[in-house]
């Protein structure tokens, strides 16, 4: 079942054409890698999906609805969630505070004063979220900044899950992580997939993309230049589609080592 379907998406900023008619579809529970060189239009494309940019022409359907005219808040309510590379975490606050930031459950203090944060309820739900992800954090009451990069990623994903998303877009989730941490983040992506949540993974780390995705879409010069089934492709092919022919053997070898 197709969850997200983009057709002929065009977007330009003044005289600069960034997207020249991109087609992209993502099925429910599918993990799609989005790769491409710097400036290929990955970020712009993602922002037209989340609604931060409005496509000039083309159509975007999500869950059978035309969402082209919807703003980011409305699209989020429909189930599109994005995790940015900087994770947007408040580093000195604890896990629950970050997961529920802006949507804290409240109670009345002494049954009189409204607006007091129900911290124990927050902690309980936060623990449940972390557990659901099969992840482990040293302590839920510690500031997020004291965690490793992968643990912070876990918090960001847990926060995204509280919105009950159908699609999670992740921007370079493994770029700044140690090797062992990369595996745990890839496991989190598999966990999302197993719960029927679709993931679009933007990454320069082709090894990660090849290991976790179902399909790989290569963006080149503002077009979806290739749509490869991960099980039937390899590093060489992906690299050659990204750089567009030429001497790709050396580049692929370089990637393989990296």
């Amino acid at each position: 079942m197709t969850l997200l379907s983009l057709r002929g998406i065009r977007k330009s900023f003044g005289a600069v054409d960034v997207l020249h008619g991109v087609d992209l579809s993502v099925a429910a529970g599918e993990v799609v890698g989005l790769v491409g060189d710097n400036g290929a239009g990955k970020s712009t494309l993602m922002k037209t999906i989340t609604g931060i940019y409005r496509a000039d022409t083309g159509s975007i359907e999500f869950d059978g609805k035309d969402i082209l005219a919807l703003d980011p808040g409305q699209r989020r309510r429909l189930g599109i969630e994005m995790i940015y590379q900087d994770l947007s975490l408040a580093k000195q606050q604890d896990v629950a505070s970050n997961i529920f930031l802006g949507r804290e459950p409240t109670k009345k203090l002494l049954g009189l004063f409204p607006g007091f944060v129900d911290k124990s309820e927050m902690d309980r739900q936060a623990s449940k979220m972390i557990e659901r992800l099969g992840a482990h954090l040293p302590s839920i009451n510690r500031s997020v900044g004291s965690f490793s990069g992968g643990q912070q990623q876990t918090v960001a994903i847990a926060r995204a899950l509280t919105f009950n998303p159908k699609l999670v877009i992740m921007d370079e989730p493994t770029a700044a992580l140690a090797v062992r941490e990369v595996q745990s983040v890839l496991d989190l992506i598999r966990r999302l997939k197993s719960e029927g949540i679709a993931v679009i993974l933007i990454s320069h780390r082709l090894n990660d993309v090849l290991s976790v995705t179902d399909r790989i879409v290569v963006l080149r010069h503002g077009r979806a230049d290739a749509d490869l089934v991960t099980a039937r492709t390899n590093m060489n092919e992906v690299v050659s589609r990204i750089v567009g022919g030429g001497d790709t053997a050396a580049a692929a070898a370089h990637e393989q080592r990296g």
Binding site: S88, Q92, Q93, G102, F116, V117
Partner: protein, 328 residues
């Protein structure tokens, strides 16, 4: 993950930060300082001197609460002392020159402070002038306006109800102390346990994260600066009522002491971490320091130097610890 078990001191430290929102070090400093003063001066340990310290701390304490909110949100308010002076003059002007009832004088103090704070907030969030500059400018503006309104002279002769706010002693406890304690309790509850308080700290921690979470960042900042001004107005009321005069030079350099109290109390200079309980301990440290130095007959010029040195030292220790933690 195999992390080594933290020691007893570290565990107590962490528990006090997580549960009570205070840094243990500041309590230790307060106790050590009090012990030292008690040993050095025979007059230090007495109920009347204790109340003296609290009374002297009340004005600074209210200003320090304002500083805690602003700094905790990642902002800065250098105009606290001047706005306090302006508010006191405004209240005295309404009561004495206009002859209006005390209740209007009280309202004038708070309102004058709130308006100054509101202007700070508007300029910071809409004109994109850094808070440092906006509130430094307001420091000059508010002080100048206080001198203009009062024609440079203190306005004497407040009505007795207004004076009671500063000099009354129900059950033997000075009114300003009661007002400080009540204000601190409310402020602590708001900062530590309400959505408003949590958003304030999140904002100071990472404006981007707060924005991404749907918090109306600019709106929130305007409320914080207005609140800060209103609290400075309250401090002006307490001071004016205590000395029974609207003094246009009241509160000079008080922002220095107030910000120092907030920082000693564990407020992160760059926002994101703050607690009113901690700030109150910081304010008491400043109060004990000033009181003790006075009892020891140290000239007030040296006291000013001591406060400045304590501020730099407190920030140094805080930054040293932050760097140490981030290295782990």
């Amino acid at each position: 993950m195999a992390s080594e078990q933290p020691g007893f001191w570290a565990r107590v430290q962490r528990a006090s930060v997580e549960r009570l929102h205070i840094r243990l070090e500041s309590l230790v400093v307060l106790l050590a300082l009090s012990t030292a003063m008690a040993l050095l001066s025979p007059y230090f340990l007495s109920l009347s001197n204790f109340l003296n310290i609290l009374l002297a701390t009340s004005t600074i304490g209210v200003l320090a609460i304002a500083a805690t909110f602003v700094i905790g949100s990642g902002g800065l308010d250098l105009s606290l002392g001047s706005v306090m002076g302006l508010a006191g003059v405004a209240g005295a002007f309404v009561a004495v020159n206009l002859g209006w009832p005390s209740v209007f004088a009280v309202a004038a103090c708070i309102l004058a402070g709130a308006i100054a704070g509101y202007i700070n907030g508007q300029l910071v969030t809409r004109a994109f002038v850094p808070a440092f500059i906006v509130t430094l400018g307001m420091l000059g503006l508010a002080r100048g306006l206080a001198l203009v309104i009062s024609k440079g002279r203190a306005i004497y002769g407040l009505p007795p109800e207004a004076v009671y706010i500063g000099q009354g002693r129900p059950f033997g406890v000075p009114m300003p102390v009661i007002i400080l304690v009540l204000t601190a309790i409310v402020a602590h509850a708001v900062l530590a346990y309400t959505r408003f308080g949590r958003h304030t700290l999140a904002l100071g921690d990472s404006e981007g994260a707060a924005r991404a979470a749907g918090i109306r960042v600019e709106h929130h900042r305007r409320i914080i600066y207005t609140l800060s001004g209103a609290l400075a107005g309250l401090a002006g009321l307490l001071f004016t009522a205590r000395v029974n005069a609207g003094d246009p030079t009241a509160g000079i350099n008080y922002e220095l002491t107030a910000i120092t109290a907030a920082i000693i109390g564990g407020t992160n200079l760059f926002g994101g971490r703050a607690s009113i309980l901690g700030t109150m301990i910081g304010a008491l440290i400043m109060g004990v320091l000033q009181n003790g130095l006075t009892l020891l007959a140290v000239q007030s010029y040296y006291q000013q130097m001591a406060i400045g040195a304590v501020l730099i030292l407190a920030v140094f220790i805080d930054q040293y610890q932050v760097r140490k933690e981030s290295r782990v």
